[in-house]
Every structure is written in structure tokens, then in C-alpha cells.
């Protein structure tokens, strides 16, 4: 009982720091994208945004071990112990990778690992979609449909995260150009178009995790 309440509590706190942390990231990115500020200010705000963004990034990764531990403790998936250990090892290793990518400045060194991280997200998204669909159809491995739906929503948030990475690629290039050559209306347009696309996916994540939270509390019979 004590362990269960601790895990539920951690699960709630992950949601708190994910969605709440994202608010600051989202709002401060407007300043980073604004041509009204000098480049040093925009660079610093980019750094602040990136640092605050580690809260949502960390919580998203930890949702895997914490979420599946909760599933196991509530007997919503009768999984062997080794699988729980695997989820924890996977989650912690992935978290270490996410933080390493954040702290490492050497772009060349980072590039293969960033690609690996992206592939990992594709695989995880696919695996979770399969989990949820087989559960919705055959009640396996997850025994409750509301939980299968929650997992599907989580998989979709991972997909949105992938889409953010893809949509900000032109942004990163344009921002580097602003730093190097200074601002111009053309580059600013590129920045804002790219940021607008990314914002759409960020908002989708907010909606998805909010619905997931509602389903987690509600536990509807589907």
C-alpha cells in the first residue's frame, strides 16, 4: 500500500513537472523568436529555455519505469519481475542519454547519439502503439481498456515529440545563421514559420497528456 501510494505520487509529480515545466518553455520561446531583442539576449533565453525543457524531457522518460511500475503494482499487467527491472534499467539508461545530450556541447560527438535517441523514440512509439492496440482488442498485455487508451495517448505524445524535433530542424539552422550573420527579415520569417510548426505539436502534447491524466483519474469503462 505504501509503495503503491509512493508510485502514484511520483506519477502525479511527473505530470506536474511535465506540463507545468512546459509552460515556461513555451512562453520563453516567444522571446527567443522575437527580433526585438539583441542576439545575446535571444541566445541566453534559448539556453534558459533549453535548461527548463529538461524538466519535461526528464519526466517524459521517467514515465516509462514509473508508469509501468504502477501498472504492475495494480495488477493491470501480470508481468514478471524481470520486466519491471528492465523498464527501470531502460528508463534510467535513456535518462542518462537525454542528460548527456543536453550537457555535451560537442555537436559532432552528439550527432550519432542524438540519432540513436530519435530511433529509440520511433521504436518506443511503435511498441507502445502495438501494446495498446493488442490490449484494446485482446486485453493483453494490459487488462483494462482505459489503460490501453492511456498508453496509446502516451505513444502519441512520443510521436509529437519526434515531430517537434523534425519541425525545429530549420529553426536550429536559421538561429545559427542569426548568431553568425545577424538578423534579417528573411531569416526571422524562417524562424517564426518553423517555431509555429513546432508550437502546433507542443500544443498537441499538452492536449494528449491532459486527456491521459483525465483518463488515469477517471478510469472509464470502455
Amino acid at each position: 500500500m505504501f509503495l503503491e501510494s509512493i508510485i502514484v505520487w511520483l506519477h502525479v509529480l511527473l505530470f506536474v513537472y511535465w506540463l507545468g515545466g512546459d509552460l515556461g518553455v513555451f512562453y520563453s520561446s516567444r522571446f527567443r523568436n522575437s527580433a526585438n531583442y539583441d542576439i545575446q539576449t535571444r541566445q541566453l533565453i534559448a539556453r534558459i529555455t533549453s535548461n527548463i525543457d529538461m524538466a519535461p524531457k526528464t519526466t517524459m522518460v521517467l514515465m516509462i519505469p514509473i508508469g509501468f511500475s504502477l501498472v504492475a503494482i495494480k495488477n493491470l499487467w501480470l508481468m514478471p519481475d524481470w520486466l519491471i527491472i528492465f523498464f527501470w534499467l531502460f528508463g534510467l539508461a535513456w535518462l542518462a542519454l537525454v542528460w548527456w545530450l543536453h550537457l555535451t556541447k560537442d555537436a559532432k560527438k552528439k550527432a550519432p547519439w542524438a540519432k540513436f535517441d530519435l530511433i529509440l523514440r520511433y521504436i518506443l512509439c511503435a511498441v507502445l502503439v502495438i501494446f495498446s492496440i493488442t490490449s484494446l482488442l485482446y486485453q493483453y498485455p494490459l487488462v483494462e481498456n482505459w489503460l490501453a487508451l492511456k498508453v496509446l495517448l502516451f505513444a502519441l505524445t512520443i510521436f509529437c515529440g519526434i515531430m517537434i524535433r523534425i519541425s525545429v530542424k530549420p529553426y536550429i539552422l536559421a538561429f545559427a545563421k542569426v548568431i553568425q550573420d545577424g538578423s534579417s527579415p528573411e531569416i526571422e520569417k524562417q524562424l517564426n514559420e518553423s517555431a509555429a510548426k513546432a508550437r502546433m505539436w507542443v500544443k498537441a502534447i499538452w492536449v494528449l497528456i491532459s486527456i491521459a491524466a483525465l483518463i488515469g483519474i477517471w478510469k472509464p469503462i470502455i
Binding site: Y27, T41, L44, A213, I217
Partner: protein, 223 residues
């Protein structure tokens, strides 16, 4: 079927999201405000970010109590009050008005009046939370479970931390104003840093309080 209790519960969780979660930006941003390497323009941009994001903890701070009371109603508390329980919202609308005024009118005489009214609201609430709920509990005027009383006490402590933050941070705004007007000096930078250092223990205590509040709400311990 979505019932009212579910709506209050999800609201309660979202209040925590926009209080504790949003506070990361406020706290981290404030550490950048005292960084001497950052230009005044940069720091002005940061203060705009902090000021906007800080609205969320401010509003959450107000809403958590009436929403919590509505949740207790769903658990069978205050049933003798019937629909009069909705009157619990009235002082909180007023409080919202006072807080909004104290922020938007900062530095003016009207702003000072709002700050005073906000302080009065907080003192009344702290007294109610500690004294009122203790009377209700120990004299068994109404049945209050242990965990509910504990939540009241922790919420009261969080409100006291809010006071601690306000008073320990009171020197920041004038020092920051001087920074904008006169530029950076060792004296001004020291004052800014001292304000942030003084506020940190209160912020940490507030976070611990909120984290404990959520744990008590989830585990509902009995003693």
C-alpha cells in the same frame, strides 16, 4: 460518466501542475536575473517571462483551497451546509481581485492598498487553516479525518512560506529598479543576490509543502 467529483479532482491536479510545475521557470529565471554577465536588456526580458509565468502559481495559490473544499464536499464533508458551500468561492474571488490589483498596480498607492488587503486575506486564511480546522477537529464539531487536518496544516505552512517569500524578496524590486536606472554596480548586484539567497529557503520549503500536500492527498494516512 464524468461526475462533479472527477472534475474537482482533475482541477485539483491541474492547480498543482500550474503551481509547482510553473515555479521551475520562476525559480530558474530568478537565478539568471542575478547573473552579472547578463545585460540589463536580457534581464528585463527574463523578468517579463518570470512575471507572466508567476501568474499561474499566484492563481493556483488562490484556487487550491476552494477546489480542495469542493473535493471534501464530494467526500461527504460539510453536507449540513447544502448549497451554501458554494459561498466558499466568494472570498477567493475577492482575493483574486486583490492579488491582481497588487501585481498590476505595483508601486502605486492603490497597489499598496491591494497588497494590504491581500495580506489580510492571507492572515485570515492562515488563522482559519490552523485555528479553525483544529477547533473543528479537536472539539469534534464536524468529523475531520487525520489526513484532511494534516492537509490543512501543510496548506497553512505553504501560505506562511508565501509570506516568507514576499518579505525576503521585498528588497529585490527597488534594487532591480536601480539597476535599470543606474546600471550595474557591485552594491546593486550584491543586493539582488542577497534577495535571491534569502528567498531560496522559503521557496524550497514551499515546494516541499506542495509535494507533501500531494502525497498526503494520495496516501490519505491515518494516525
Amino acid at each position: 460518466m464524468i461526475d462533479s467529483q472527477l472534475i474537482w479532482l482533475i482541477l485539483h491536479v491541474f492547480i498543482l501542475v500550474y503551481w509547482l510545475g510553473a515555479d521551475i521557470t520562476v525559480f530558474y529565471g530568478s537565478t539568471q536575473l542575478i547573473n552579472k554577465k547578463n545585460s540589463i536588456e536580457t534581464r528585463l526580458a527574463i523578468i517579463k517571462i518570470i512575471s507572466f509565468v508567476n501568474w499561474f502559481p499566484n492563481i493556483a495559490n488562490i484556487l487550491i483551497f476552494p477546489v480542495g473544499v469542493m473535493l471534501l464536499v464530494g467526500l461527504g464533508y460539510f453536507s449540513e451546509l447544502g448549497n451554501f458551500i458554494f459561498l466558499v468561492w466568494v472570498p477567493f474571488f475577492l482575493w483574486f481581485f486583490f492579488i491582481t490589483g497588487s501585481i498590476t498596480q505595483r508601486g502605486t498607492l492603490v497597489g499598496k492598498v491591494y497588497v494590504f488587503l491581500d495580506t489580510v486575506m492571507r492572515v485570515i486564511l492562515i488563522l482559519f487553516v490552523f485555528v479553525g480546522s483544529s477547533l473543528l477537529y479537536f472539539f469534534e464539531i464536524i468529523f475531520i479525518q487525520d489526513w484532511v487536518l494534516l492537509k490543512f496544516y501543510i496548506y497553512g505552512t505553504v501560505l506562511i512560506c508565501g509570506f516568507g517569500i514576499r518579505f525576503s524578496f521585498s528588497g529585490f524590486a527597488p534594487a532591480f529598479q536601480r539597476l535599470i536606472e543606474n546600471g550595474s554596480t557591485i552594491e546593486i548586484e550584491n543586493k539582488l543576490r542577497a534577495s535571491v539567497s534569502r528567498v531560496k529557503p522559503w521557496v524550497l520549503a514551499l515546494w516541499i509543502g506542495l509535494v507533501l500536500l500531494s502525497y498526503v492527498g494520495i496516501s490519505k494516512p491515518g494516525f
